[in-house]
Amino acid sequence: MTTEPRDFGREPAGRLIPWWRSYLVLLGAAWRSQFQYRANLFIMILSGVAWQGVGFAFIWVVVAKFGTIGGWSLSEIAFIYGIRLTAHGLFVVVSGRIFVLDTVIQEGEFDRYLVRPAGALAQLWNRQFYLPHLGDLLSGLVILIAAATEIPADWNVLTVGFLLLAVLSGGMIEGALQVIAASFAFRTMNTRQIRGMMDDIFSNFGGYPITIFPIAIRLILTFVIPLAFVAFFPSAVLTGRSGGLYVPEWLALMSPLAGPLLVLLAREVWRSQLKHYKSSGS
């Protein structure tokens, strides 16, 4: 017969831990949940690879037909595509299925995130680890590494460092924009369409040199939805094109800062909108 532990309930046994530690604990839980279905593992990852592979094959066919697009060769376009897809892969691997926020709110599941001593976003992100996302990341890395060895770039510590920071920043840009859009779900707005639209813009326009589009679209993709900072500007810098762009060169060189800045903005927007959370009637 087990008896009550001595001093039980005298004072709470828990304490707050840093956000990254709770993130890792929750990530571990999400991983283990997914591994309960072991047979699925490879099929799911493969489906992610196949999906992204088809997307890339389409660009391949187009470029192979015309030789170059807007003065960019096949390997250079693959480089843009590789940065974009790797950045996207990082974002989705870290954030799980942030796309389900509307449902999570409507079904009242969000309540339980708020009664735990951990960030609500970290809990939402680790609600489920979605395996096809690993396929996105894997495809992105393969395309990026293959293209990086093909393009006429001068690889040294500085350029490789710039590339790594640019990829991280690219993932932050997409993540920050998705979080900002998702925040409005707290005002009982349906954010699914706007987030879907953003996802479409990223995957449809993100793999091309932005300069092939008319100036109006270029400006939108730079200053409204800052997609140009994800892969195009870094690629232009690394292939020696940053001098002749439609924006000052320093802006392109600063692209690794765009992600962290947008993340700070997204954090403020998320917090300000979370106050409007109404919880669903029980």
Binding site: E11, R32, R112
Partner: protein, 346 residues
């Protein structure tokens, strides 16, 4: 600015030293966009910024002492869940003060979370695809509970809630009763000082209900955990709660113990007598006693403040031969129904 003033005010106020939950002048409004009907209604709803305000909680005050077992009751839509959600940090009040174990929940949500356990009967907080054992391990890490303390607590809960038979089964395969037991263990593992329960026994069979009541009672008695219980099951309340707060229309309509509630709202007791074979009912002849004659027994309703029970029994025995006599106390169920009905709620 008003938020800050309210905060300063709460700090300066002299509060009951025993109190662990302080709620005063608490108000919560819900603002919803006004829906415009008719042609292009959907579009006009979007464009106009008009909204409808519904006041769900309308100036609630109460203090809960450490170690109390409080039943927080009211009909659907009375504002119960909204109050609980403000005490647990889920919702931010529109105005008023709220302090739980010295913390303003919505301002310091995560720190408040360390002091409270929350169980929603219909929504599990466990990891659906993982065995209960692993959910408890994850919670241990998330709250950074000392491993020895964690182990001792888990052992105690496994014993008290009989978790052993399904401890290694994925949560999605558990029955409702097993799942609620798992949720209770998960909520209490970090040794919170206050446990909030929203309909914990809903949909459970009698045996499962009993086990959960036993656990809650032990927790409150032995560990001194303060419990706030919302339920429609008044057996839960009669078995567990020493104090009841009734709310309706967002206001407190009763705050006190179960017995006073009964005597305040239902003055009448009933004396049930069974007549011996062949004996006919001839009446007692005491004014103020309502007689209702059934096939097997006669029920006499009376006000114990006016008429002594002994007097009534003597009067009955003077004229009748009986096989059985019983005094029936009002059941909380009936009392609460009567209160809801009199306020036009049921």
């Amino acid at each position: 600015m008003t938020g800050l003033m309210a905060y300063v005010g709460a700090r300066l106020e002299v509060v009951d030293p025993l109190g662990i939950i302080h709620v005063s002048e608490l108000v919560k409004d819900f603002r919803r966009p006004k829906r415009i009907k008719g042609a292009l209604g959907g579009l006009r709803t979007l464009v106009t910024r008009e909204s409808v305000i519904k006041r769900a909680v309308d100036g609630i005050d109460f203090t809960v002492d450490e170690g109390e077992f409080l039943g927080y009751l009211g009909p659907n839509g009375a504002g119960k869940s909204t109050t609980i959600k403000m005490m647990t940090g889920i919702l931010q009040p529109t105005s008023g003060k709220i302090e739980v174990a010295g913390i303003v929940p919505w301002r310091e949500r995560q720190r408040n979370a360390l002091n409270i356990g929350v169980v929603f009967g219909q929504k599990s907080q466990l990891w659906w695809d993982l065995p209960l054992r692993e959910s408890l391990q994850i919670i241990g890490k998330l709250y950074a509970i000392d491993p020895a303390r964690h182990r001792a607590n888990v052992d105690w809960f496994v014993e008290l809630l009989d978790l052993d038979p399904f401890f290694d089964t994925p949560v999605r395969q558990l029955s409702l009763g097993q799942r609620v037991r798992g949720d209770l263990a998960a909520a209490m593992l970090p040794e919170p000082r206050i446990l909030f329960l929203d309909e914990p026994t809903i949909g459970l069979d009698v045996v499962a209900k009993e086990r959960i009541r036993g656990f809650l009672s032990a927790l409150n008695r032995e560990a001194g955990t303060t419990v706030v219980l919302t339920t429609h099951d008044l057996d839960d309340v009669e078995r567990l709660c020493r104090r009841i707060i009734l709310i309706d229309g967002g206001k407190v309509t009763y705050d006190g113990d179960v017995e006073s509630l009964k005597s305040r709202f239902v003055q009448q007791r009933r004396l049930v007598v069974k007549l011996a074979a062949g004996v006919e009912w001839r009446g007692v002849g005491i004014p103020g006693v309502a007689e209702s004659i059934g096939d097997e027994a006669v029920e006499l309703a009376f006000d114990p403040a006016e008429i002594q029970v002994s007097e009534l029994i003597t009067a009955v025995l003077a004229d009748h031969q009986l096989t059985d006599v019983a005094i029936v106390e009002p059941e909380l169920e009936n009392v609460v129904h009567r209160i809801y009905a009199s306020a036009g709620m049921a």
